[in-house]
Symmetry: C2
Subunit: 439 residues, 2 copies
């Protein structure tokens, strides 16, 4: 082996564009966000699921067409037609349909993992990215109160993440469709598509488009009046009740909204974090009731950082069982990238889990190793610096990694059963008995 070292070709080490790879400091920060999200999801009793990244293409793409299909990483291996998952929802649908008889419903699952989309790489958009999903799947039916619980999960997650103030906005697509129906409009989807542009393109544009699409002047005014409603959920619900609209869907949607808003209050979500926003529709066709978006108040330009909604049929491509559900997703890689670029997040400078670096002087390596084992057994992440060199170089290692404490041990400390503990931030140091070191 050794002989061909000189002949060996050096291949330039690099990764594909559109793939995120972090250095230790950022990775520590990213992982702490994953831990926070996971802990919050678990506190609500969501169950972890882990599905294969590679699935049968015919199964994974049972429904998808258009853009999604084009973006999918699809390839053959032997006689198999394979594809990498492009979201965590389709694998959930497949999982629930496949293991239907072995699951307990309502099935509350979370899944935090990578998904793959071969889209054109742009700043802040990735081809491999983490999604953090929760869904609650009912067997035949699912109480509307679950839709409220989802808001409480979002609230507790973003509170725990600590990015500052945020607003969770909800709406109900049944209410919207019913409202449009009551105005004599058949194609609710098209109207939603137009209305969705109000923030970007402005009210006049939306008005013109609606008229162009065949809505009457009066209907257009009504639609604009509706979608501009924003604010205290129960106030708006009451206002809408007074509009006296006689459409079944509208009334059903309004009742759902009222139940959801009342329960959100009971769950202790403060009213400043939670608003009704009648123009939120969400792009995905399959949402059929409640829809969610979440915005960071100081950074509205990030767009919605957590979205989702209620759907009637999770798994109709895989089973005849009716499996209604409600869920949300956080696109963590993109969110992390944006927050990090904007300087909104940073960790405490730590590029390692280590809390104490033990630096042995003279002939005290064995004492250092013993002491490290004692610290570790007490839950203190500990590392022994085993390289030679001057003290400055050793302290520099600790500084570069952001290790908060250095414990120097020499002959005298070994005799005394102590370490010379240096606080790297304050620069203070004092001799402490090994047994008394607490961090």
């Amino acid at each position: 082996m050794g002989n061909d070292t000189e002949k060996r070709n050096i291949v330039e080490p690099s990764i594909l564009s559109g793939f995120m790879e972090l250095l230790p400091k950022e990775q520590m920060l990213f992982n702490s966000m994953v831990d926070t999200i996971r802990a919050t999801y678990e506190s609500f009793g969501f169950i972890p699921v882990d599905t294969p990244v590679i699935e049968k293409a015919e199964v994974l793409l049972a429904k998808s067409g258009g853009d999604t299909a084009k973006q999918v990483y699809r390839f053959n291996k032997g006689e198999h037609d394979l594809a990498l998952r492009f979201d965590l929802t389709v694998p959930l649908a497949r999982y629930v349909a496949q293991h239907y008889g072995e699951l307990t419903f309502p099935f509350r699952r979370y899944h935090i993992s990578k998904v793959y989309r071969g889209e054109k790489p742009q700043k802040g958009r990735f081809r491999e990215f983490y999604q953090c999903d929760i869904d609650i799947i009912g067997n035949g039916s699912l109480s509307i109160i679950n839709d409220a619980e989802i808001v409480s999960v979002i609230y507790n997650t973003f509170k725990a993440l600590g990015f500052g103030d945020f607003t969770i906005m909800i709406n109900n697509r049944k209410l919207l469709s019913g409202f449009f129906e009551s105005l004599g409009i058949d194609d609710a989807t098209e109207v939603l598509r137009i209305v969705d542009k109000i923030d970007k393109a402005g009210e006049d544009y939306v008005k013109a488009e609606l008229l162009k699409n065949g809505a009457s002047e009066e209907a257009t005014e009504s639609i604009l009046k509706l979608v501009k409603l924003f604010g205290e959920p129960l106030d708006i619900v009451n206002e809408l009740k007074n509009w006296g609209i006689d459409n079944e869907k509208f009334i059903a949607g309004l009742e759902e909204l009222e139940a959801v808003c009342k329960s959100i209050k009971a769950l202790g979500v403060p009213s400043e974090c939670f608003k009704l926003n009648l123009k939120i529709a969400r792009g995905l066709d399959y949402y059929t009731g409640t829809v969610y978006e979440t915005f960071l108040n100081d950074y509205p330009e990030l767009g919605s950082v957590c979205s989702g909604g209620r759907y009637d049929e999770l798994a109709q491509n895989y089973t005849k069982q009716s499996l209604p559900g409600v869920g949300i997703s956080i696109g963590l890689s993109r969110l992390f990238y944006q927050l990090n670029e904007a300087g909104i997040i940073s960790n405490n400078g730590k590029a390692t889990p280590t809390n104490i670096l033990i630096v042995p002087m003279d002939d005290t390596v064995e004492y250092a190793l013993k002491t490290a084992s004692q610290f570790r057994s007490r839950g203190i992440a500990t590392e022994v610096y085993l390289n030679g060199g001057k003290m400055g170089k050793k302290l520099n290692y600790a500084n570069k990694l952001g290790i908060p404490y250095v414990a120097v041990v020499g002959e005298s400390e070994m005799q005394n059963g102590t370490v010379m503990l240096k606080d790297m931030e304050s620069g203070e140091q004092k001799e402490v008995k090994v047994d008394d070191v607490v961090i």
Copy 2:
């Protein structure tokens, strides 16, 4: 959308053979093992790294040939030639070479993630599986004491996993090569290959093969004498010193082994868990010093459950920098499968993180939601049962998921600010103030 439900093709939901997918109870158990391994790795100050699953094929396959290359999932997307990682070591080499200037050495990294090998599926072998790796990479050189620390990591990891007694075996390839050289044997690799079969094929087979390979009768006897050494590390080291073998490599290997064994003792690894085994060679060409294998004492048939070793050059395909290292890997998916099949592991029956299921009676849903939020804020994973139905069905939900406590709330509990807390194992129940519930 709704209209084409009847026309819709139902695709049979299934995954590819050779891919592991777990039901909730097993997934909870698997995740708890990952958590244990991660916590132990971090207690030693190993830094998390997360690399892309998809890499450039030319980079990932810079070295590999033969079987590995055949097993790799390799495909094109647009103009790109892509491959899925088949281990975590090659991505580490690429990562360290690529980010060399931004890393602090010695670089201690851990990586727990999935890798992909399209090998023929067999019982207990997977095409997608978790590896749990740690490596310590030096810049130019790396103290031999790191090789001892690795044993301490293995010891603490398997102790924390709690599978019962285990034995970590170490050896040194430099010592082996030097010994063979001293007998006039050039092709140490071939001898190692033969010797490696002693447990399976027996002593006579090994003897015959060595003779066939050109070793003298005397050399063959010496080799067998060496590889049968097994037991107390420092005793064997002393015995080998007395053999008076005058070969530089042998002496260097023996010195390394002595230093490693002494430090392992200092690190508090009990002697019953740690043995020297002179016939361990490990298949991989690149190991150049210490090698490790780990066996569960009661289940030797599982083979080594954690292996690794010391290598001189981590990243010679990507950089001219000399980056020696030492590391180990746990093949967790395979290990989990084997332990689970053999009934060696099982969780506490929990198929959910939930510790309390609140069951609202009468009109107490809001009180139930409020109570749930209080429990969660105190760190108790809590779920509210929101489906209708009889009490038996609700308790059955808790039983099926292994939820340890059910808190029933009715009008009276709501008035009293209490819950009726039922211990699902003992069947006992008592009314407890919401503030006094501790789990």
